[in-house]
């Protein structure tokens, strides 16, 4: 049985709940869980002041209620599962190293920022800086997967070093900016300046995009690894057009202001 945390009171100002993570709650009784310290703005309060705790922790935490003003759920978690039944606030799954977060609604900014491992799936949209680095850091996401069915905003995968980010909808500007390695797949439209400053890594786009003047077209080919990725994403519930599976792709190399060892693969089948 899962532990259910049901939001009974909407916060007036943001709640910060780093303690909502399997690592932190696994060995606690429900009354101890209710007494966990969280921050309501600058006030230290108890988790129970805002959430009812129902059931027992058995590797899974289910969160019910509109959590769009609740930050840091699953931050730094290393195992287990968190299911969020509605929307959720910023920093969800940031620096997590394992386990799984499923968001039925939409995520917000810094979803999975600097994450090390595990998986985050979002049925709705996500915000800016998905899987990105925090300001000043040399590395963003270093492992794991983020799968967003809807749209994401700017700076997805900023300085990411390993892992996969897949987006069913659109991505805004600077997707994969300063990327060190890893894979980004976007099935919808892209904003501008995709892959700016990328050193290595792959960004796969299904639609026509603006390419920076520092990328050069190297060849057209049918990358076989993509077939595996798409099959996997299909199994994760993303809608994949079958023509993509064997489709020809334009390969663009860049960014020449950096190592020039990154690639943007542009679907050329239509």
């Amino acid at each position: 049985m899962a532990l259910k945390l049901k939001l009974h009171t909407q916060p007036d100002v943001p709640l910060e709940v780093d303690c909502i993570s399997p690592d932190r709650l696994q060995s606690l009784s429900n009354s101890e869980i209710s007494k966990q310290t969280i921050f309501h703005g600058n006030r230290q309060v108890n988790l129970g002041d805002f959430f009812d705790c129902i059931g027992d922790f058995d590797n899974e935490i289910i969160i019910e209620g509109d959590c769009s003003n609740i930050k840091h759920i699953g931050t730094a978690m290393s195992f287990g599962q968190i299911t969020i039944e509605g929307d959720v606030g910023t920093h969800t799954g940031a620096v997590m190293s394992g386990g799984e977060i499923n968001i039925e609604g939409s995520g917000a900014d810094w979803l999975g920022a600097e994450m090390l491992g595990g998986r985050i799936t979002v049925k709705g949209d996500a915000g800016h800086m998905v899987g990105s680095a925090y300001r000043g850091s040399a590395q963003g996401m270093q492992g794991g997967e983020i799968i967003v069915h809807g749209n994401v905003r700017n700076e997805m995968g900023h300085a990411m070093r390993r892992g996969l980010i897949a987006v069913g909808g659109n991505a805004d500007d600077f997707a994969g900016v300063n990327m060190l390695a890893g894979t980004i797949i976007v099935l919808g439209d892209m904003g501008i300046r995709t892959g700016a400053g990328m050193k290595r890594g792959s960004i796969i786009c299904q639609n026509i995009i603006d390419i920076l003047p520092t990328f050069s077209r190297s060849c057209d080919y049918q990358p076989s690894f993509l077939r595996q990725y798409y099959k996997y994403l299909k199994s994760m519930g993303l809608t994949i057009n079958d023509s993509f599976l064997d489709g020809p792709f334009e390969r663009w190399c860049g960014d020449s202001v950096e190592l020039n060892r990154g690639e943007i693969l542009l679907y050329a089948g239509k």
């Binding site: 100002v13 910060e16 810094w110 300001r135 003047p213 202001v257």
Partner: protein, 456 residues
């Protein structure tokens, strides 16, 4: 005009980031106003001449009614302490001494502090955190620069003495002939009052600065750029290559850049591209890049917030220690997402220049304002302090756009207190209130703390 005239020499104008400290002011001591300025530009003149004492204004008001200073300080302190997410914003037109008090208040009440940097050169600060920068004081530009490039800036209107004092006609150690020893380039999408100064004007397509800077970086590194570069950016490859040659072969090059880079799409990546280009050029010659900072002491605000917290702006203390995150703890976001529940606005007017949504939330929460004049923000403030003007009425320290600190040499006294004095009063009171709360919560086994232990 009365006979009672005092002349103040080497006064400092704090209207813009140039912080010219060579002003001569003629002060009418009977009428308490400046009647004549020497060396001031059009902006400086207005700054000095229009700062008269409004005799019918009240130093302290609560909900529009005149109150004593003590009552206003008490109400301000209570408001900040009661709030769960109090924010402090502004600070760029205030002395660093006052800024230090403001950051202290935010720390003590576990609130949030942000400065006008976040909607000005905040993106430059973020770019700096990504790539660093090569920079210099303005005297080095005056003494050495033989290639001066303005990008997305219009100093003729925003910093009128910049050309003359520091960058274009200024004569220095290795530039004895001023403008003749320099090449001036202006990159701007429109013709501005600055354009005639330039030897070379480059007018790109709108919103293509990043692409151009990126192409220049590639060319500097000897890489090719896409054939359709002119179609993409409006600038021909020949023009770019010519600029690259000039940049690599100059003796001391400088970029000055403005909000034409920080404010449009691309924000911190636009400025990051420019800082990176300047860094790249140091492989070939000496090159620096400098943001044209706007307000008189916005650079001081960056410095004070940095030395007290480790971060330049957008700093949150909710958890009892500083955290930095533009986009989360920046004022536009805290207001437009409805997260702040009280605000102290110092020397700034967000109610007139923030996005509409942010203004709407600001109007729904208690606001404490400190300003030298009535503004849209102070008009609706819960607690409004009318304060004296820094540099004109109060001394203190300001940091020029190149981080050079200068002591202010005020012209005449104001009946209104300075920011620092008001903020010190609020700080003392919030400290007492927080201490009382701490001692009341003594159930957690913490020792009670005597007030005597608190330092000034």
């Amino acid at each position: 005009m009365s006979e009672n005239i005092k002349i103040v020499k080497n006064a400092t104008c704090t209207f813009c980031g140039c912080v010219c400290d060579d002003m001569e002011l003629h002060v009418d001591l009977d009428e308490n106003r400046i009647v004549k300025t020497k060396k001031a530009c059009v902006l400086g003149k207005a700054w000095f001449l229009e700062h008269t004492i409004e005799k019918d204004a009240h130093a302290a008001m609560i909900d529009g009614k005149k109150v004593s200073m003590e009552e206003a300080i008490e109400e301000a302190a209570q408001t900040l302490v009661k709030a769960k997410f109090p924010i402090t914003y502004g600070l760029s037109d205030s002395t660093s001494e006052a800024q230090r008090q403001a950051v202290a208040i935010s720390d003590i009440v576990k609130g949030n502090v942000d400065t006008t940097s976040s909607v000005c050169h905040g993106p430059t600060g973020m770019a700096f955190q990504g790539v660093g920068e090569s920079t210099s004081t303005l005297g080095e530009v005056k003494n050495r620069a033989d290639l001066v490039i303005y990008w997305g800036a219009n100093p003729a209107e925003s910093h009128p003495r910049h050309f003359g004092r520091y960058s274009v006609t200024a004569k220095g150690m290795f530039t004895p002939n001023g403008k003749k020893d320099r090449t001036v380039v202006i990159v701007d999408v429109r013709k501005t009052k600055s354009s005639p100064v330039a030897d070379i004007n480059i007018r790109p397509k709108i919103g293509k600065d990043f692409e151009i800077l990126w192409a220049l970086r590639a060319l500097v590194k000897g890489k090719k750029v896409a054939d359709d570069i002119e179609e993409q950016t409006g600038i021909s490859l020949e023009t770019l290559e010519d600029l690259v040659e000039r940049m690599k072969n100059c003796r001391f090059g400088v970029f000055f850049f403005g909000m034409g880079l920080t404010m449009p799409r691309g924000r911190h990546f636009n400025t990051g591209a420019l800082l990176a280009l300047a860094t790249d050029l140091n492989e070939f010659t000496h090159f620096v890049a400098k943001p044209l900072r706007g307000h008189g002491n916005v650079t001081g605000a960056d410095n004070v917030v940095s030395w007290q917290t480790g971060y330049p702006f957008s700093v949150n203390f909710n958890r009892g220690y500083p955290r930095f995150n533009p986009g989360e703890f920046s004022t536009v976001d805290l207001l437009s997402k409805g997260e702040a529940d009280a605000a102290m606005i110092i020397a700034s007017d967000p109610a007139s220049n923030f996005p509409k949504k942010a203004i709407e939330h600001l109007k729904s929460i208690p606001v404490i304002s400190l300003d030298t004049k009535s503004t849209l923000t102070s008009k609706d403030a819960h607690v409004a302090f009318r304060v004296s003007t820094y540099g004109i009425n109060t001394t203190g320290t300001v940091y020029r756009m190149d981080d050079v600190p200068i002591t202010l040499n005020p012209a005449f006294d104001s009946p209104f207190p300075g920011d620092e004095e008001v903020l010190k009063g609020i700080k003392k009171r919030v400290q007492e209130l927080m201490l009382a709360r701490h001692n009341a919560n003594g159930a957690r086994g913490e020792a009670k703390v005597a007030a005597a232990r608190i330092q000034e």
